[in-house]
């Protein structure tokens, strides 16, 4: 056989083994028999959201390592403490990938509990598998209200440790009304009652549409003097926003409200200032509060604002400060760098899982579910309503005190850094309209 033919056969064999290998995983024993708590972590390890996926996985690992170092999870029915074993489920940043990963975690790996999930579109696609198999799932992403409020399937085993799009949309709009609008009107001599014109550029997904709906609903419900002058969707994973920005600029908004993943926000911000010469204020959503965003956006991020609940570089003063700094320091020691918001939420979710299993005293899924439903544990790093992590009785959502950061260039690192500018009780400094900012025409 010629040498090239041998190489071809080898390559073909590798491919066949790769394909077959994925389908021939050995079925795992149930946890009670194997003496461990098996937690499936649903994260986008590959594909468009892989940067966030890595953050989710590493933070979960950090939490599990800490818990195991302290002796593991106490399970009364076993009469002993057992370690946590994490099993990675890569959703490949796609609906199909998520369904495949969750099916494998539940049916082959026999996990006791699931944690994670990022994109609302991806989470909504695998919710039916979770519902069917009745596995407790602490979802730290999937922020669209349409994911947690759906009534076409049984979501009673799903617990949402994140603000939904209604919560984050409301916080953002209140900030715009209370802070940005008066600042623009005062600086440019506009009448105080002049409405602020906002352009919404949003990912064409449940997450993006949920945010758009929330923004419009809050403005309408509270009769706020804010006018949405443009609603521009873009497809998930987009990296070329020049035409969309040109279209938005032609509508003369005073600011952009962007609903993006961080790999979308980086080019959007850069192209607005650099290519389209659009000197407007950009507001982003909490999932972008990530070291990779600050690194990627560079000088073009200067002056922008972001709704947040956990910031790697802006730690709120108060009862969560020590835990936050400890987490950031431990993460830095283990992985070299800081975690983002999704990492923090997943880290907390692992501790929530531990607390719920210990309170249940068993790994029985129904008991763990009931324990999660009745959970009331002290807040950790993210500031919770009432200082307690608990899930609402209606849709099993935890409730957060949200804040807004503003970015300014840090000459030492060459990257922008955030500071909390809203609300008053958390602010490190006041909001400042950038010098280069130009409002829409009055």
């Amino acid at each position: 056989m010629k040498r090239t033919n041998v190489i071809s056969v080898f390559l073909a064999a590798c491919l066949i083994l790769l394909v077959l290998g994925t389908g021939c995983t050995q079925q795992q024993a149930p946890s009670a028999q194997s003496g461990e708590v098996k937690i499936g972590v649903v994260a986008s390890m590959t594909g468009a959201a892989s940067t966030t996926g890595k953050d989710i996985w590493q933070s979960a690992e950090l939490a599990a390592d800490e818990i195991n170092a302290m002796g593991g999870v106490r399970i009364d029915s076993l009469g002993k403490s057992v370690p946590i074993r994490l099993i990675q489920g890569d959703d490949e940043s796609t609906r199909e990938g998520g369904m495949k990963a969750v099916s494998k975690l539940i049916t082959q790996d026999n996990v006791d509990l699931l944690v994670g999930g990022y994109s609302s579109a991806v989470v909504s696609a695998h919710q039916s598998i979770v519902a069917e198999n009745k596995v407790p799932y602490i979802i730290s992403g999937g922020s669209s209200s349409s994911v947690s409020h759906r009534n076409d399937l049984d979501t009673s085993y799903m617990f949402f440790h994140r603000p939904n799009t209604d919560d984050s949309g409301e916080a953002s709009i209140l900030f715009i009304d209370e802070v940005v609008r008066p600042a623009v009107n005062a600086k440019f001599g506009f009448p105080a009652e002049r409405p602020l014109k906002v352009a919404v550029i949003y990912q064409d997904s449940p997450f993006g549409k949920g945010q758009l709906d929330a923004v419009k609903n809050v403005i309408k419900a509270k009769s706020l003097p804010i006018e949405v002058v443009a609603e521009e969707p873009f497809k998930m994973g987009e990296s070329d926003f020049r035409t969309v920005l040109t279209s938005v600029k032609a509508k003369n908004p005073d600011m952009i409200y962007s609903v993006t993943f961080l790999n979308e926000l980086v080019p959007l911000t850069q192209q607005a200032r650099r290519d389209v010469n659009f000197n407007t204020l950009i507001m982003a959503i909490e999932n972008n509060d990530d070291p990779d965003y600050y690194k990627g956006v560079g000088t073009y991020g200067d002056g922008m604002v972001m709704e947040s609940r956990f910031s790697p570089y802006a730690v709120p003063k108060g009862s969560t400060e020590v835990a936050t700094r400890q987490f950031l320091s431990n993460f830095d020691k283990k992985y070299g760098g800081f975690a983002g918001m999704m990492g923090a939420a997943t880290y907390e979710s692992i501790y929530i899982a531990k607390e719920a299993i210990e309170k249940a005293g068993s790994l029985e899924k129904a008991k763990v579910r009931d324990s999660l439903a009745n959970l009331a544990m002290p807040q950790m790093m993210e500031i919770m309503k009432g200082g307690t992590i608990q899930f609402s009785p209606d849709f099993r959502e935890s409730k957060f005190d949200l804040y807004v950061v503003q970015l300014s260039m840090d000459q030492a690192s060459g990257e922008p850094r955030p500071e909390i500018v809203w609300p008053k009780n958390l602010e490190a400094r006041g909001f400042v309209l950038p010098d280069w900012y130009t409002p829409g025409t009055s």
Binding site: S8, G47, A48, F234, G237, S247, N277, D292
Partner: protein, 293 residues
Amino acid sequence: MDVSISILSQVAFWGLYSGCIYILLATGLNLIFGVMKIVNFAHGEFLMLGTYITFFLFVITGFNPYVLLIGSIPILIGIGVIVERLCFRPILGTGKLNEIFISLGLIYIFQNLVAMVWTDEWRSIKSPFADMTIDLGPLQLPLDYLIIIVVTIVILVSLYIFLQKTPIGKAIRATSQNRKGAMLMGIDVEKINMLTFGIGAGLAGAAGTLWAVSGQVFNPYMGSIPAIKGFAIIILGGLGSIPGAIVGGLAIGMVENFTAFTLGGSWKDAVSFILLIVVLVLRPTGLFGEEEE
């Protein structure tokens, strides 16, 4: 919204820029198809490799990223030659299914190799001309995009001269027109295959460099969508036709951007394929394709 001429010109300019990236990608794809008649779905991975090689050379040398075309094109030509020799030559003429599976396998191999070497984080590089604009009255055009358009024209003119005036270029054209005839005339068609595949990969590599220089982000999985668009363009323009790839690339670039401007960004991809369907219904051989005898 007041739609002025300056805004429409601006959108046309973004369409022209997108078109340049598509043209380079589709021209390479069409060159390979014209000579070898193979379908390489991994062609977008050559673009992705071009972005990473540019990124790597930029980090270690600090050179102007446009100068790095001198590095990225030859490296991609080399990679193309190796891929043709090891993967496509052995299965040439054995059926389309083999070509499809080889190219699908190559997609995974390239994506995972790049993720292993450079991780799968989103990357970008900053051109030294990033903050410079050229004022043309109502139009303010970023310098980088003007350079990208000029560089694309230079590459296409060089390719035209190469194919028309050099003996190797003439041999490529002869092989493309009649493979058996070329063999009878003493042309080593296997070498021409290898070289053509290398040139095709090099053009995709150039597209990758220009993609990176324009400030767009990239990661190991970014090649799939441009590859699909590349295929749409060569079908639209006519399989094997380089003028077709140029006109098709420009058409897709323009249509995408004017669609994003009028209907919104989420329609961008759909309209490109609607255009493709319309052209195929009206002219099944594509805009510049010829009926097979």
